[in-house]
């Protein structure tokens, strides 16, 4: 049995390759043991071609433990093999391979700069890759049938001089253009009396938005989902969930956007970077044609 490791890092010169035989094999196989299945689409970006470090290619000849394929590529702790991807037991496998104590040791004699170069390059590349938690957070949510009633994300319709400055987050959230910078409750003569979750929620109910505190980011059967957040005692803000399952918003008189304060797509406003709007209040439902706002 043998294991061939190739650090895929160079473009012009040959990549560093080493063939491992003997006692080291078992240790490597233990590090490569499948730990958790992951969906290929969730990690596909890790395997995209790029300049610089692209992963460690592993070829295994002979007997293998169950679940370990004969040919795989490890990138950021995730092993890719054909159309499958899984997290390996040793998340630090690549760092180990590139280190001065790692399996590439036989090459270090003739290329003394190699361990440092690989260590730096692998470290740099992994830092650039979006952390797994962030990926999970911004994954495209499954579009549920209910979202088919949600409004399209069409920023170009709102982001024009005749509309953008005169319509706010409440206009955008409810998908009603009034050109009045609409205020919750105003149309019903029940405008909010404080900048708190309960006060703004109550005012929105007066405009015929429907309370949906248990919506849990799920699209309603009819209408579309909005979310109310509060900058305590300073302001309110609304997000709306679109047809694709992502959320978008219109911060005041500025342009409609589908990004949060960190520049990430918004899969769930509860976990989005909301700047000073630190209080997540509730989900509500907007029934098209039923709400009245000014």
């Amino acid at each position: 049995m043998s294991i061939t490791l190739t650090v895929d890092v160079f473009s012009g010169r040959p990549n560093p390759t080493v063939v491992i035989t003997g006692p080291q094999e078992e240790e490597l196989l233990e590090r490569l043991r499948p730990e958790e299945k992951v969906h290929l689409e969730e990690v596909a970006h890790l395997a995209e071609p790029r300049l610089g470090y692209r992963g460690v290619a592993v070829q295994i000849e002979g007997e293998r433990p169950r679940g370990v394929p004969s040919s795989l590529r490890v990138v950021n702790g995730v092993a890719f093999a054909g159309k499958k991807a899984f997290r390996i037991a040793d998340a630090g496998f690549e760092g180990f391979v590139g280190s001065s104590e790692g399996p590439l040791r036989p090459l270090h004699g003739r290329e003394q700069e190699l361990p440092q170069l690989l260590w730096d390059e692998i470290g740099r590349s992994l830092e650039l890759m979006v952390p797994w938690e962030r990926i999970r957070e911004t994954l495209k949510p499954k579009v549920e049938p209910g979202c088919q009633c949600a409004p399209l994300y069409e920023p170009e319709w709102w982001n024009v001089p005749a509309i953008q400055p005169y319509n706010n987050c409440y206009n955008y959230g409810t998908d009603v253009r009034t050109n009045t910078f609409a205020q919750p409750g105003k149309a019903a003569g029940a405008e909010y009396t404080g900048l708190t979750c309960s006060a703004v929620r109550k005012a929105a109910l007066a405009d015929d938005l429907i309370d949906a505190p248990k919506a849990n980011n799920k699209c309603p059967g009819k209408g579309h989902l909005v979310a109310l957040v509060i900058w305590p005692n300073s302001d309110f803000h609304w997000y709306r969930k679109g047809k694709t399952g992502y959320w978008s918003h219109k911060p005041g008189s500025t342009a409609v956007t589908n990004r949060d304060n960190s520049g990430a797509l918004i899969a769930d406003p509860r976990s989005a970077d909301r700047g000073p709007y630190t209080s997540f209040c509730t989900f509500m439902v907007v029934m098209h044609g039923h709400v009245r706002i000014i």
Binding site: W231, S234, D235, F236, H237, W238, G252, P276, Y277
Partner: protein, 108 residues
């Protein structure tokens, strides 16, 4: 940028809110001239202020009676393609300080 207070005199405002209208206020001419004198002393900046994040404080502005405008944010203050570095945000803070007491949240 809100224009509600710009019919006469110097006006200023801050990009701040989403649901409520952004605050705007009048600035006495003397204070405005003093702020612009400080602005004149600032070194050139290589680029205009970057786009602020969508929510929360996103800079402030000053508008002259003749329509000229200055925009301050993220350590840069710019007017009509002339950007200056304001590394300690001194000019920006001086402009914010012209707002009536209690109009702006603390800590800007």
């Amino acid at each position: 940028m809100d224009t509600s207070a710009s019919s006469e005199g110097w006006t200023a405002g801050a990009r701040l809110y989403s649901g409520r209208e952004d605050p705007t206020w009048r600035v006495p001419g003397e204070q405005a001239e003093s702020i612009l004198a400080s602005w004149d002393q600032l070194p050139s900046a290589p680029s205009p202020p970057p786009e602020p994040p969508p929510l929360g404080y996103g800079g402030c502005w000053l508008r002259a009676p003749d329509g000229r405008e200055w925009w301050a944010g993220d350590e840069v203050m710019a007017s009509e393609g002339d950007a200056r570095t304001d590394p300690k945000r001194e000019v920006e803070r001086a402009l914010l300080a012209t707002a009536p007491a209690g109009m702006l949240p603390e800590g800007l």
